[in-house]
Structures are given as structure tokens and as C-alpha cells.
């Protein structure tokens, strides 16, 4: 039986009392050791100093998460100087959006919920500094894929709310297992995939607290344990959410999103439960899913998912569980001895689809954002940092992160000063055909916008007037290149004011631009570039804009014209300055796993205000 480690203090006083003599005894032992001259081997002393140094380094950043008023509910850890801290979702569930957080310095800070990952049992909160701009102590994120069974680890937190002054309790033990799978605890939430199993003692109140390696790097967030006859205290088996899983969601969490995990869009199961060696086989492909459009079929053997080989149910659930929905991941299947690799856009996990793969409609678990009590006037500053919105843990932080990305991108050019029509001239390649290319984007007044695109033939579209989906996705085979170009212009020149449907930060996603020299990539995974995503919606057209996390350059975007088909993918490269603004001079257009066109631009003419 597995349970989360949320505090249940009432029954735990006895246990707390039991823990005290242990601490006293060890204290005694150390003091005695001082008195007795003993020769201690250098490695022993080195290990001790390493351990002490690691604890000293990280303990100021360990958080005691409290209700407003200071009653302890769990633990957390600060991961940035601005005071962003990781904890468990089940810790902030009882606190609601506003809580308090005690640090080892004995000070209780106000804190606010930022982003949520209910399925993964993670929440990001932000502590408010007492003095504006004063940095918080924070810890470095480690690499949990490097954690091995038998490694030493340190767990810290506030078990049983022992520390009235918030000084974290430290426990020490070995890693019992890695890549462990622990099924959801009711309604599909709190699923621990690819997690770290520890014997390092964690108890009620440790929830949300950090697990460190011996270098003081954060490798996990402690969250639950296996309990049975011995009661709901440490029974030698605890679990921490691996930090590498959290890293995948971190962009979403910073952006205040109430994020969701993913499914493949196909039911995958073991070929035979009784087979001597286990194999994973696609049992059914969900109609209308990206997996279906990518050509995955019933009976395909699943070999590799996102770079990891998959041969058992637990392995599959582990690797599937570490990704946010809508991420594209490379998937390799085998069919009749042929291997086939493709990029699949993952579907959401919290069921919003009408039909489940088994064909039986299942009740959709729809968790609500932690409402809690209406923000109390404890600290008006903290209350100002919380804006509720459906689909978000905290909309305030989405706006903040979105504007950060857009402001950073402005370094490459501010296009709001060039709202007039844009003309680009150059060459095109569509399949075997090549020739001169020209496109013109004119915004016009109201709905008068017009796109002219000349490839081998002339195309014309009034993007805001045309309602026929068949015309909206012209040129045929592009998935809606003209619509895409129009939205690009609108996005760059109008910004937020141009998108009444949605204008938000979409978290972080991998983006897979094909090599600019047109060569065949070694593997799809090798193309990956991590991007911040801005999502827009105008009319019924939705776009996702991919900004490089390295230099905030717009690497490309996807335009979804019709809901049930693939988007038109546009990849930008060869950026050069035009009127002091950086514009891509090579545009690759892809649709349905194929390149539709390559546009090389010799000259842009941007209309001025």
C-alpha cells in the first residue's frame, strides 16, 4: 500500500517523542568521541566533512511549507534566487494558493502558488522576500539519471513539523531503487513514474522536501512511501519524484500552468503476460490521435520511446509519465521486421477526449485548482501575485513569463514599428519544382487582410474572411501556409492585442528543426532544441511559437487551421537584419512528416507605420 506523506499530526506525537532520544544519543556519541583519542582513517574524516559541507551548503534553502499562520503541512526547496521553490502538489492542496514558508533562518515568509503538476504531485511556489530584491539561498538541480542504486543520499525537510524554528531535519541513507513506478493514488493523480526509491527515512511532513546527492545537488522531491502493518511512518521504503522528470515540467510550472501529463494516443500492452521475455505491443490506436496520423498501427511492437528502450509495462509507464502533454517525442516501432521512427505529439492524460482507447467512456477526472479559502488579507503583496484562471495554477505568473520571453525576443527586432504590409522575394523549392517566390502580407483594415503567395502558381487568401476550410489550408499539401504567414505577421506586429482567443506562455517544449543544409538527420532526437512556447489563438486558428531557450530567437511555429489535422510547421533559420530587425531568410515548411516547401528570401520590404 502506498500513501503520500502529507502530515497527519494528531496521531504522530508518540512517534515524535520516540525520535528524540535517538537524536540525543547520537549527539552524545559525537561528544564522547571528542573525549576519546581514536585514530580515524582519513577517508572517514573526508566523508564526514563532505557530508557536513553538503548539508551546510543546502540547508538554508530547505523550506517548511505552512498554512497561513504557520502550521506546518510539508516541506519544499528553493531552486532560484528569486525564491521559487518546489514542493508536492498534495502539500499545497490544503494550503490553497497563499501559504507561508519557513526557512532555516527561522523566518516565516509569505508564499504563493505558481504552477501545478497534479498527476506528478509537484507544485512550484514562490516565496516573497522581506526586502524587495533580496536574493534567497537556493540549490542546484542535479541529474537524476546518474543516480544509481547504492548511492548515498540526504533527505531534508520538516517531518512531524518537529522544528518550530524551521531548521530542517536531515536523514541519510542509500538509494534503494531507480526508475521505479508507483501507480496513481486515486483519480489518476499523484502518479509516481520513473521515481527514486530510498531507504533514507522520510515521514509525514517530509512531503515536498528535497532529496540530495552527496554533492548537495537536488536529485528528487520526496513525496510518498510504502506503508502497511507498521503504520504511516517510515517503513524503509520511500519515493522521491526524480528531478529530471520535474525539469521537463519546469517551464510549465514557472509559467503558472496547471499542467498535465501525457498519453501516447494508443493503448500499449505486453504481448503476453506469460511470455518468457516481455515485449510491448500497440493494442489499439485512438482515432484522431497524432499517433494514428503518424502511422502507428495496431500490432506494432514498441521498441523505443523518447530515447529509452521499452520492454515492460513499468518501463513504458515510467518513460511516458515523465513528459507533459503535447510534447513531441521520437517513437520507434517494429512492424514485420522493419523499424520505423517518427515524432509523435503526445495527448493529454487527464481525460478530455470523448472516447478512451478501449471505447468505453470513462469518467473524466477533473481536478480543480486548489481553491482553498479565498486569499486572506495576510499579506496584500502576496495576494496581488495570485490571479486565478481555468487551466492555470496562477495566471499572474503566466503573464510574467510570457512577457519575459517576448521582451527578450525584442532584442532581435521590434516589429510593432512595422505594421504595414510585408513583401518578401526570393526562391522556392516544392518537391522537384523550383523557381522565383514572392509573398505579400497585408493587414488592411478590420478583416481586409490579404495574403498573396506566388510559388509555381499564384495563391491568394483573405485569412479573416475565408471560412471554407479547404481554402484555408492552401496551398494544398502545406497545411495552411498562407494562414501561417498571416498569423506570423499578426503575432510580430500586433502582439497581445491581436489575439483575443489566447495569448499565453505554453511552457517549454522540444522543437525539431531539420538541418538547414537539407541533409538527413542522424536521428530525430538529435534535432531537438528546447524552446519556450507562446500560444496564440485568433478566430479558430491556434499557433504555437517556439523561442530558443538559448537566445530567444524565434525558431519556428506551428499553425493549426483545422482541429483534426496536422498543423502547418514553419522553421526559421538564416536570420539577417532587415531595417535593424532580424528576419529569417530561410523558411522551411513541413506538413505531415514531409517537407512541403523551402523558401529562401533575398529581400524583405517591411511597411512602416
Amino acid at each position: 500500500m502506498i500513501h503520500t506523506l502529507a502530515s497527519a499530526f494528531s496521531r504522530l506525537r508518540f512517534v515524535v517523542m520516540a525520535a528524540i532520544p535517538l537524536a540525543l544519543f547520537s549527539g552524545l556519541a559525537i561528544r564522547e568521541s571528542m573525549a576519546v583519542p581514536v585514530e580515524i582513517e582519513k577517508p572517514v574524516l573526508d566523508a564526514q566533512s563532505q557530508r557536513i559541507a553538503a548539508i551546510k551548503k543546502v540547508h538554508p534553502a530547505v523550506v517548511a511549507v505552512c498554512m497561513q499562520g504557520g502550521q506546518g503541512v510539508g516541506s519544499g526547496v528553493i531552486i532560484s534566487p528569486e525564491g521559487y521553490a518546489l514542493t508536492n502538489f498534495h502539500v499545497v492542496q490544503p494550503t490553497g494558493p497563499l501559504m507561508q514558508a519557513g526557512l532555516a533562518d527561522g523566518v516565516l515568509y509569505d508564499a504563493v502558488v505558481v504552477g501545478l503538476d497534479k498527476v506528478g504531485d509537484v507544485a512550484l511556489i514562490k516565496l516573497l522576500p522581506k526586502e524587495k530584491g533580496k536574493p534567497f539561498p537556493f540549490v542546484k538541480l542535479g541529474d537524476s539519471d546518474k543516480v544509481r542504486i547504492g548511492d548515498w543520499s540526504l533527505a531534508m525537510g520538516n517531518p512531524f513539523s518537529l522544528a518550530m524554528d524551521f531548521t530542517p531535519t536531515v536523514t541519510y541513507g542509500v538509494i534503494s531503487g531507480t526508475n521505479r513506478y508507483q501507480p496513481p493514488e486515486g483519480k489518476g493523480l499523484l502518479e509516481y513514474t520513473d521515481c527514486i526509491q530510498i531507504e533514507t527515512s522520510i515521514n509525514p511532513g517530509n512531503s515536498g522536501g528535497p532529496l540530495f546527492n552527496m554533492n548537495g545537488e537536488l536529485i528528487g522531491i520526496n513525496g510518498r512511501g510504502s506503508f502497511e502493518k507498521r503504520g504511516r511512518v517510515n517503513s524503509g521504503v520511500g519515493y522521491a519524484i526524480s528531478i529530471n522528470q520535474i525539469k521537463n515540467f519546469l517551464g510549465h510550472l514557472y509559467a503558472g500552468i496547471d499542467t498535465d501529463h501525457a498519453t501516447l494516443g494508443a493503448a500499449v500492452g505486453t504481448a503476453s503476460e506469460d511470455a518468457p521475455l516481455s515485449q510491448m505491443v500497440v493494442r489499439q490506436v485512438l482515432e484522431g490521435s497524432d499517433a494514428e496520423r503518424r502511422g502507428i498501427q495496431e500490432g506494432d511492437q514498441l521498441l523505443n520511446f523518447a530515447g529509452r528502450s521499452v520492454s515492460s509495462t513499468n518501463q513504458y509507464k515510467n518513460v511516458l509519465g515523465i513528459f507533459p502533454k503535447e510534447w513531441r517525442v521520437p517513437v520507434t516501432v517494429r512492424r514485420n521486421n522493419d523499424r520505423y521512427e517518427t515524432l509523435v505529439r503526445l495527448m493529454g492524460n487527464i481525460a478530455t477526449e470523448k472516447e478512451s482507447p478501449t471505447g468505453q467512456p470513462q469518467p473524466a477526472p477533473r481536478p480543480v485548482a486548489p481553491k482553498g479559502p479565498a486569499p486572506k488579507a495576510g499579506n496584500p503583496e502576496a495576494a496581488k501575485l495570485y490571479i486565478p484562471k481555468k487551466g492555470y495554477g496562477n495566471w499572474y505568473f503566466n503573464q510574467l513569463e510570457r512577457d519575459k520571453v517576448l521582451t527578450a525576443a525584442k532584442a532581435h527586432g521590434d516589429f510593432t514599428t512595422a505594421p504595414g504590409s510585408w513583401v518578401a522575394q526570393g526562391k522556392y523549392e516544392v518537391g522537384e519544382r523550383k523557381g522565383d517566390m514572392r509573398f505579400e502580407i497585408t493587414e488592411g483594415k478590420d478583416a481586409d487582410a490579404i495574403i498573396n503567395l506566388k510559388l509555381n502558381i499564384d495563391h491568394k487568401l483573405a485569412p479573416l474572411k475565408e471560412t471554407d476550410a479547404r481554402l484555408q489550408i492552401e496551398p494544398i499539401g502545406s497545411g495552411g501556409l498562407m494562414m501561417a504567414l498571416y498569423h506570423w505577421h499578426r503575432f510580430l506586429t500586433k502582439g497581445a492585442s491581436g489575439f483575443e482567443g489566447n495569448f499565453s506562455h505554453g511552457g517549454n517544449e522540444p522543437f525539431y528543426p531539420y538541418p538547414a543544409d537539407g541533409s538527413t538527420p542522424k536521428s530525430l532526437a538529435s534535432l531537438r532544441q528546447d524552446c519556450s512556447v507562446i500560444r496564440t489563438k485568433h478566430g479558430s486558428t491556434e499557433c504555437k511559437w517556439y523561442y530558443s531557450m538559448q537566445d530567444h530567437k524565434l525558431l519556428g511555429f506551428e499553425t493549426q487551421v483545422t482541429k483534426d489535422d496536422d498543423p502547418c510547421e514553419v522553421y526559421f533559420s538564416d536570420y539577417k537584419a532587415v531595417d535593424g530587425k532580424q528576419l529569417p531568410h530561410r523558411i522551411e515548411v513541413r506538413f505531415k512528416d514531409k517537407r512541403y516547401a523551402l523558401l529562401t528570401i533575398d529581400k524583405y520590404t517591411l511597411g512602416q507605420k
Partner: protein, 392 residues
Amino acid sequence: MITRPGFALLAAVCVAISTPVIAAAADPFNELAEKTNRKMVKLFGAGGFSRLNNYGTGIIISPDGHVLTVASQLLDTSELVVHLYDGQRLRAQVLAIEPELDAAIVKIRVDGKKIEEPTGLDLEYFDVNELAKRPHAEPGDWVLALTNTFEIALRDEPLSLQRGVVMAYTKLAGRRGVFDFPYTGDVYVVDAITNNPGAAGGALIDRKGNLLGVIGREIKNSLSDTWMNYAIPLSSKVDLKIKETVKDKNGKDIEEEKTVTITMPDFVTKGMKGEYRAVKRDNRTTGIGGYHGIIFVPNVLERTPAYVEDVVPDSPAAKAGFRPDDLVSFVDGDPIASINTLIDWMKKNTRPGQVIRVEVRRGEALQTLELTLGSYPSQPTAPEPAPMPKTP
């Protein structure tokens, strides 16, 4: 005065800590865990209901696929399955069971091969006979446990690793439910919480990777009523007193008491060959009996009269109308002299679902109650709080 224990503790800590240090580069725990994991199996068998797990752990003790594990109900099936470290799923069959050692030998089966034929598996294994000759580990020594605790690992997933210190090497006084545990020989008592569901049959190893003992089933210490963390050592032996019928010099049958020694190495050697014959003994291991729900007065005397102190609400006894202060006098016509007599009678003669007639003395009158026995409740009783510490 306190210096000594302090010193001893420090010494233990030193030994302990030297591992991670040297480890910084080599990380021996990881290699040890990996190496040991290859000599272990996940075991799946009977159970899966009312707190009886259908999963456990086993230790490979021959290249041919003999497995040492505990003598649990898990083995009570013809559908025994093992998962090897590499993810292979194979059938297995019980060769020998010795409740006095709480040990069993199981053999992995390969399709198309008879049980007595070599499997051709060529597995990595622990040589129990060699290892049993080693001196046992001492209190203060560091140990590691590898088990499939809570069935966390399936197929090729590695077993769970725990680390601890031997706290004592001592005689076991344990009980399982209301029964005394059959094994009463030496055990390693460790400070890590090793004996969880599914962990039984796991390996307790030293820091060099030598197998020290077999992690035992979940039992409570019958003295302190706390859950135990222990392993049965490979060198374990028990002396069993049995009664044998022999002819005396006049040719008459008489019963003679005889002591038989059972050792783990002997059990393993003979068990692997299929030659182990369990010693015939008194029918000690009767069933658990049916559940009545009567709480008797404290059983402090050899012959405490079977007075009812209380009745568990909604229990069979409550339904049958038992009341505090009733004295149980006869059950199905047999006189009940004491609480112990009743407990023995229940174990020997009853099972869940059975209806028994109980005559109780209530006040001055005898009353007959019909009691339909149930199964022992599957819900664990609430964990008992730790005793209050004496602060110095």
C-alpha cells in the same frame, strides 16, 4: 562510564562510514547490489487475499536454478513463477520445505525439461554450504538487504536495496498472528526496516557480498510485541525433540524421546537433490482455527478460567450473544478448563464458517450459545504508539 559505549558506537560508525568514502570513486554498494541482484529472483505464487501476499523473494543457490526462500503460503500452488534479474519469466516447483527453519527449496523449471533434468540455465548463485562455514557477522557489522519488498520490482527491475547494522545475533522469539513462530534458532536482528511484505526470502549480505542469511517473514517479537527486522543465518540449526515408537527389550512398543538436529546446510544439500525428508513430529502446525471475537480476561495463569472480559463489536461472539463475565465451560461437549485449553481446542478443531455450541455459565445458570466462526479480520490493527522515552 559512558565512554565505552560511546567508543563502541564510534567504532561502528567508522567502519560504516569508510564505505561511502572509498566509494566516492568506486561506489561498491552499486556494484554489490548489481552483483547480488543477479543471484536473486522475484517469486510469485499463492496468496493475494487477506494480507497474504502472492509475491516474495528468493536466492539462487545453484547454477541449475535452485532457489532458497522462506516456507510461506506463497509456495502452496502448482503455478509458482520466478522472474530472473534479466526479466525472464519461468515456472518453478517446490522441492523441499522445512518449517522448523522456515526454509524452502524451489527449483526453476525450463519448458520441455523434467524436474530432475539439468535446466542448462547456468545462473550466478550463492554457495550456501561454503558460506555457512564462515563465521557469522557480529553486532555492529554493516549489512545490506536485497528484497522485493512491496513487489516494487517486476521482470528485469532490480530488487530494492537497504543498508543496516547487525544489532544482535540472538535466538528468535517471534509470533505470527496468534501463533508462535516455528523457528526458534539464531537470527540476525538488524536496524533497517527489512521485513516488509514481499521481502521474505531476500538476501542479507555483508559488505563483501557474502550471503549471511535469509530475510524472514513478517513476525512480531513475542516479548515486546513489535515488528521484527531479522534474517535467518545460513548456519542456522535447530534441535527438535521428537517422540519415536521403538520396541523395548521385551518387544513392546514404547515411545522414546529423541533429539534431532536440523541444519540449514543439510536441508539445502539434501533439498536440492530432492532427498530431504522432513522429520516427523507432533502435529504442531495446526490451522489457525476460526475467529470468535471473544476477549478473555488476562491469561496470567497456567489455567486461567475462560472468563469473557469483552466481546469485539460485530464479531461472531457478539452476534452469538456472548457477554462480559460469561465463563466458557463446554465447547461441543468438551470441558474447557482454561483459556489455554480453549485456544488449543479452537486451533485443532475449528475453521472459519464452522458452527460450534458453547455452554457458558452466566450467573448461576448454564446457557448454550451457537457460535458461527468467521475468518480472522484482515484489517491490520492500528499501530501501537512507541513508548514514551525516558529523558535523561
